[in-house]
Point group: C2
Chain length 421, copies 2
C-alpha cells in the first residue's frame, strides 16, 4: 500500500468510526445486545473461514521461525473459537453501564444536577498477535457504546481480518452501523504512527503488548493513552508471616501461570525469616522447575540458586524464574517496590494488621494485597466479567479495565429558568 493510500485509509476508517459513534453512543441496551448476538452467530457460521485464515497466519509464522509461545497465542481451533463465541455471550449478560446516574443532587440554585455515565467515543486499540483480542475488544467496546479501530499484530492479520468480517456481517444484520468496528487493513508499521495522530476523531488509545510497543505509543501518541507498561509484581514475606500461608501464596503467585502480568517476579523476604520460611519455598519452586536468583544471604540456602544482579530487580520474566531479595523491614520492602516496581500489583504476607495497613497505604500500585496471591489481579476476579487489560497509569482508570472503565460522564442540568446572579 502506498503511503498516500494508507493515510487516506486511516483517515477514512477513523472518520467513519467518529460518525458512527454519534449514533452508537445513544443506542439502547437492547439494540447493542441484539447486535452482539448477531455477531456471535456470524462467528459461529464463519468458523471454517476463520480457521482457514488462521492456517495461513500459522504457516507464515512457522516460516518466520516465530517462538513456540507466540505460535500458541496465534493458534485457533474449534474449541478456542467456541471460547471466543461464549465470550460474546458473556458480554451480552453484563450490565450496560451507559446512562446510569453516578450522582444526582440539587444545590441551592435549585437546578437538578445529574452526573450521567456516557461512552468515551472512539477507541483505538493496538495489540499483538492474539486473534481473540480482536473479538474481545470489539465486543467490550460495542457494549460500552464505543466505536473501535483495531490494529493487530502482523502475524495474526488473516485471522483477525476473518473475525472482523464476521463482526461486520453481524453488525450489518443489526440496527447498528458496521462502521462501529474497523480494522487497519495493512501490516505496514507506519500505520500505527498515523493512527496516533488521529486526535480529531479518536478519543483514546489502548496499547496491549510488550514494553517497547507501549512505550512507543505513550511517547508518540497525540491521543490520550490508557496502558499497562508491565507487571513487575512483588510479594513481601514479613517477619510476622504465617509460614504455611507464605508457602502457599508464593507458590501460587509465581507458578499458577507464569506468563500473565499479575505473576510475582520478585520475592522480598524479611531478614529474620529467611532461615525459617524460605528453604521450603525454594525447594518446592525448584522441584516445579523454577529458577531462583537471589542475593548472598539467600544463596547459601541451596546450591542451585544463582546470583541476582540489579537487572533481576528490573525484569518481568513472564517465565519460571523468581528473584529473591533480603529486606530489613516493611519500609525497606516498600522502598524496593517504589524503586523497581511497575505500579501494577504488589502483596504483603503478614499476620500483623498494622504492618499490613502500612503496606496497603504506602505502596502506590494500582492493586495492593494483604495475604493473597498477586494472580488475583484480573477483571474476572474483581467481578467485572471481562477486561480490556490492567492499567498502571494514574489517570482515568487503574487496575482492571472493564466496561465501566471504558466510559466517561457528563453533567445534565435541569432547571426551570435559572439565571446566575
Amino acid at each position: 500500500m502506498h503511503k498516500k493510500e494508507m493515510i487516506s485509509h486511516i483517515e477514512d476508517i477513523c472518520f467513519k468510526a467518529y460518525k458512527a459513534s454519534n449514533t452508537l453512543s445513544h443506542a439502547t441496551t437492547h439494540a447493542k445486545n441484539e447486535a452482539l448476538e448477531k455477531i456471535a452467530k456470524h462467528i459461529q457460521k464463519d468458523k471454517k473461514m476463520i480457521l482457514e485464515a488462521n492456517i495461513i497466519d500459522m504457516d507464515m509464522a512457522k516460516n518466520n521461525n516465530i517462538s513456540d509461545a507466540l505460535l500458541d497465542r496465534l493458534f485457533l481451533d474449534e474449541s478456542r473459537l467456541d471460547n471466543i463465541i461464549s465470550g460474546v455471550y458473556n458480554i451480552i449478560n453484563l450490565e450496560d453501564p451507559i446512562g446510569s446516574e453516578i450522582k444526582r443532587w440539587k444545590p441551592s440554585n435549585g437546578i437538578d444536577m445529574c452526573q450521567t455515565r456516557v461512552p468515551i467515543g472512539v477507541i483505538g486499540i493496538i495489540y499483538e498477535s492474539r486473534p481473540n483480542v480482536t473479538a474481545d475488544a470489539s465486543t467490550l467496546a460495542l457494549k460500552s457504546g464505543n466505536c473501535i479501530i483495531l490494529r493487530g499484530g502482523s502475524e495474526s492479520f488473516y485471522s483477525s481480518s476473518a473475525i472482523i468480517n464476521s463482526i461486520k456481517n453481524g453488525l450489518k444484520s443489526s440496527q447498528l452501523s458496521e462502521d462501529c468496528v474497523n480494522m487497519v487493513n495493512t501490516i505496514d508499521r507506519d500505520a500505527v504512527g498515523l493512527l496516533l495522530n488521529m486526535h480529531k476523531y479518536v478519543n483514546l488509545i489502548i496499547p496491549r503488548g510488550g514494553k517497547a510497543l507501549i512505550e512507543r505509543v505513550q511517547i508518540d501518541s497525540k491521543i490520550p493513552v490508557l496502558s499497562h507498561l508491565d507487571g513487575l509484581c512483588h510479594t513481601y514475606i514479613d517477619v510476622d508471616a504465617n509460614k504455611e500461608m507464605a508457602i502457599n501464596i508464593v507458590l501460587n503467585a509465581k507458578m499458577r501461570r507464569t506468563g500473565i502480568c499479575g505473576a510475582t517476579e520478585t520475592l522480598l523476604c524479611h531478614k529474620d525469616v529467611i532461615i525459617n520460611i524460605l528453604p521450603d519455598i525454594i525447594n518446592k519452586l525448584i522441584e516445579q522447575g523454577c529458577e531462583i536468583r537471589a542475593d548472598k544471604n539467600i544463596k547459601v540456602l541451596n546450591h542451585n540458586i544463582k546470583n541476582a544482579t540489579i537487572e533481576d530487580w528490573q525484569t518481568e520474566y513472564l517465565d519460571k524464574i523468581l528473584s529473591i531479595k533480603t529486606v530489613e523491614n516493611v519500609s525497606d520492602a516498600i522502598k524496593h517496590i517504589e524503586k523497581f516496581g511497575s505500579n501494577h500489583t504488589d502483596a504483603i504476607i503478614t499476620d500483623n494488621k498494622q504492618t499490613a495497613e502500612i503496606f496497603l497505604k504506602e505502596v502506590n500500585s494500582a492493586i495492593v494485597l494483604h495475604n493473597a496471591s498477586t494472580q488475583y489481579a484480573d477483571g474476572g476476579e474483581f467481578g467485572m466479567g471481562a477486561e480490556m487489560g490492567i492499567a498502571t497509569g494514574r489517570l482515568h482508570a487503574r487496575g482492571p479495565v472493564g466496561l465501566e472503565q471504558l466510559t466517561t460522564y457528563k453533567y445534565q442540568l435541569r432547571g426551570n429558568g435559572q439565571v446566575r446572579p
Copy 2:
C-alpha cells in the same frame, strides 16, 4: 539561564516534588490543613513584599504595552490579596477526598476488595498571568495530597515568585516538606518543553490559558494532559420555548460576564420563533452594547445586525458579541453544536420535556443544560467549593475540576491466605 542549567533546574524541582509526594500522599487531613493555615498566615504577613513584587510586574507590563484586560488580570492590591487568603481558608474547610472508600465489596473468592481514593502524585500546571492562580492551584493540590510544579506566565513572574516564597515559608513551619510546591524559576519558553518531558516524575499536566498554549501542550506533552481547549458555548431556543424565560436566560448567558468560558457565544434559534422571540432579545442586547452577527433570516430584524460568516460559528469571542443562527429543529441545533462546539457547555430553552431530553442526551458536551444559563458552568455552582478549571476532554474528569477530580484510586485487597484456583 544557560540551557544546561535550566535542564538541571527543571529535573531538580520535578525530582524533589516526586520524592515529597511519597510523604504528602499519606499526610493526614490535620497536617494538610495546618500547613494551609500557615500558608495563609505567611501570605498575610508578606503582603507588602508581594505587592512590591507586583508593582515590578505591572511596570514591566505597561512598558511592554500589554492590553488593559491583561493588566487587570495581573494587578494585585490589598483586597485581591485578601481574596487569595480567604480562598486558602475556603480550601481548609473543604472535605479531604483522600482515603475515602469509593466502593467496597467481597466477591465469591472471599477477598475484601476496597477501591480507595488516593492522590494523583505530582501535577504540573502551566498558566498565564494571573498571580492568584499561583496560590489557588498550590493549595488545591496540597489539600488533595498532590505535589505541584508551577509554570506561570512571564508577566507575573515577580508576583508569583513572591507568593511562592510565602507558601514555601508556610510549608517550612509545618509538618509538610517545602518541596511539595515548586515554581520554575525562569521565564525562558524552553522550560515548558522540558517540563512536558518529565514523565518520570510528573503524573499530570494541567494547562490553563489561551487556545494556542493548550494545543501546544496537548501535542508536545509526554505526560497525560487535563485541559479545556475553549468554551464555545451555545444556547438553543426551541419552538416550544417560553418567551419570557428565553429572554432572561439568553441575556444572562451572554452578558453576565462575557470573559468567562461558560458565556454563550452562539445563539441558535428555531425558525418558527424568530419573529416572536428574537426581536426583544436583540433589542435588549444592543441596548447593553452587544454586537450581533446573524444569518440573513435574522438580519432583517434590526439594521444594526452584521452578517455572520462561518468564522463566527467557530469563534469564542469572550466579549460583547453574539452570533445568531436559524435552525430547522432540535436535530439541526445538535448538528451545529457537534460541528462547531467545543464540548464545554450547551443549553436548550424549551417547555417540551421530550425535546429537552433529546438535547440532554445527544449533545456530547461536558455540561448540558435545560432551561438555565450556560454561566452555571462553574465549580462553585456545582458545590465543589474551588476549581482548577473546566475540563472538556473525555478522559479522567469532565467539567469543573475540583479536589475530587485531582485524585485517582487504588484497590486494596485484604485476604486470609487466598490463592487463585
